[in-house]
């Protein structure tokens, strides 16, 4: 079921919320089971055949987590964890990568239909198994676990939750009370996300699809229009989805972690990865980058090698402590999105960016200048790198990505001739719309900043620009959000999928 559909907004959400409040009168257990059943219904609405897979995955991982916890301190615990991780990854490989891998080996098979959300709920559960092994997962009840994995606002496309931030919230009695404040705040966050999706992201879809369908025909203007449109579409689509997920959870008295923090305002690529799809970055840091980097750094200490800044600036230190964990993590981050070569190249491209960024910091450790021109220059360079990456990310093949990037460099000509005045007007209007969206991206506060009065996420919020644009429970804001709801609902018409559903 899509967040941006009539059936969700007008039926599923209000009925699930009302049912939750009614069930809570009979106790937390009843309310919890109500949410699990509603979440499975939400999941199965899309393709009922995927429900058994979700249920089997949750049940198997829960049993594994209990076994891992029960065998603490015994060698078999490590085997159980390794087996659990392998089983989860095997499931992902079966649906996401097997057809590509067999195709490369000369054994072509038809690619299976990808169960929606499989990457998200599989990663969430692998993290839980690792935390059980480390003794860090404290809540171990079946219902608590089922809620943690299946709670519908994050089930399909995140934010990727960590058990320690959400399971205690499900255990708290305050979660099961009716809170008008939380419903108001959650609704406001949801509506901001809905507007981002329907009004800002979706209108760009046609330009993007046309550009990537025939990249060899793009000239300079068309290529830049295609690339910038996709970059904006991806941002408003995914951050809009995240806002909607955070808003829905808030209506149920739950706070999610932030997933976006104005990533296109980043002043370095390191900064960008701390602001874009933040919960995926956090996950990769916790379960991939940190273990690799810790292992390498401990080995260096054991061999008597320096690990401080001096040690990091040697060729061996930089290769071991920076390049190795960064390239492995980013390559796998790219492949997490899919089996296409474009995703691997996307990951490696960002690994290269990060390596240069780290080297720049280490070898020219001068504090960055705070003059506005210096800040604008850093933002422009960072965004330029990200834009190139997003072309590779979106393109159906490396050839296609090369065509778009080549056209952006003017290799296909710089002609901006139009067939007639009507086409010229349309192109000018599209360019003006893209410029408007960049003003929103770079000059407007983000959703957390607009909503900071209500503590919208688990993360701290720094004040943004336009302080007057701060939500509060007042008549003008109620009227504005009412108008936003009307506009958002009227724009639903041709409901479109969220881009991250394909991952």
């Amino acid at each position: 079921m899509l967040f941006n559909s009539y059936v969700f907004i007008l039926a599923f959400l209000p009925l699930t919320l009302a049912g939750f409040w009614l069930a809570a009168r009979c106790g937390r257990t009843v309310a919890g089971y109500w949410l699990v059943v509603a979440s499975v219904l939400f999941y199965g609405w899309w393709r009922p055949a995927d429900v058994p897979l979700l249920v089997a995955s949750v049940a198997t991982n829960y049993l594994l987590s209990r076994l891992i916890a029960a065998t603490a301190g015994r060698p078999v615990q490590s085997w159980l964890l390794a087996g659990g991780i392998a089983a989860n990854l095997a499931l992902l490989v079966r649906f996401k990568y097997l057809a590509t891998l067999l195709g490369l080996a000369g054994v072509p098979i038809a690619a299976p239909v990808l169960p929606i959300g499989i990457s998200f709920f599989t990663f969430t559960q692998i993290g839980f198994l690792i935390d059980c092994r480390q003794g860090l997962a404290r809540e171990r009840g079946w219902l608590s676990y089922a809620l943690f994995v299946t709670f519908f606002p994050h089930l399909i496309a995140g934010p990727i939750l960590h058990n320690r931030e959400i399971m205690p919230q499900f255990a708290a009695s305050t979660t099961y009370r009716v809170s008008a404040e939380n419903v108001a705040a959650g609704l406001a966050i949801f509506l901001i996300g809905l507007l981002k999706k329907c009004l800002l992201a979706d209108p760009l879809a046609a330009i993007v699809a046309a550009g990537f369908a025939h990249p060899q025909q793009l000239a300079l203007f068309g290529a830049w229009q295609t690339a910038t449109s996709y970059s904006l579409q991806l941002y408003f689509d995914f951050s809009g989805y995240s806002d909607m997920a955070i808003g829905i959870a808030r209506m149920f008295n739950l706070r999610f972690p932030a997933n976006f923090n104005s990533p296109y305002k980043s002043q370095s690529v390191i900064d960008y990865w701390q602001r874009w799809h933040m919960t995926l970055t956090r996950y990769l840091m916790m379960y991939l980058y940190n273990p690799i980097a810790l292992h390498v750094t401990r080995q260096r200490v054991a061999r008597g090698l320096a690990v401080n800044r001096q040690g990091q600036t040697t060729a061996g230190g930089f290769a071991a402590m920076v390049l190795l964990p960064t390239w492995i993590t980013l390559a796998l981050a790219g492949v997490w999105h899919g089996s296409g070569a474009t995703f691997l190249v996307f990951g490696l491209l960002h690994a290269a960016y990060l390596s240069v960024n780290h080297a720049w910091r280490l070898f020219r450790p001068r504090p960055p200048g705070q003059h506005p021109a210096a800040i604008v220059k850093r933002i422009a360079v960072t965004y330029g790198c990200v834009l190139v990456g997003s072309v590779v990310f979106r393109a159906p093949s490396l050839w296609s990505a090369g065509q778009v990037l080549g056209a952006m460099l003017g290799l296909h000509g710089v002609s901006i001739g139009f067939a007639d005045a009507k086409e010229a007007m349309r192109a000018a209007a599209q360019a003006a719309w893209i410029a408007t969206l960049y003003v929103i991206v770079w000059a407007a506060p983000n959703t957390q900043q607009i909503m900071r009065a209500c503590g919208p996420t688990l993360d701290a919020v720094r004040p943004g620009p336009l302080p007057w644009l701060t939500w509060r429970t007042s008549l003008p804001w109620a009227a504005a959000l009412g108008c936003a709801a009307a506009v958002g609902l009227s724009a639903l018409g041709g409901t479109s999928e969220f881009l991250y559903f394909q991952f």
Binding site: I130, I270, R309, Q310
Partner: protein
């Protein structure tokens, strides 16, 4: 009568941690409090975070799990976790 516990900034662990920071950042003038975070020290990135943790492991004779590192946002978080691990050792 028991005296009230010292504030974190006054406990021995903070003085020892300050020395860890000076070693890792190669900066004898660096000063920390329990509220110090990565935003206050520009060179404190993911790579230096790992170096800090491993240096602290050596200095305090403890071991951190990789998944514990994400919760260490401020110096105070690291100092408290060190105290917990030392008490459990």
């Amino acid at each position: 009568m028991l005296s009230p516990p010292l504030a974190l900034d006054q406990r021995p662990v903070m003085a020892e941690l300050a020395d860890v920071f000076r070693t890792v950042f190669d900066d004898p003038d660096i000063a920390i409090t329990e509220a110090t975070c990565a935003d206050d020290i520009p060179a404190w990135d993911s790579m230096t975070h790992i170096a800090l943790v491993v240096e602290a492991e050596c200095r305090f004779g403890i071991t951190f799990a990789a998944v514990e590192l994400d919760g260490l946002r401020r110096v105070g978080d690291l100092a408290r976790l060190i105290e917990v691990k030392r008490a459990a050792a």
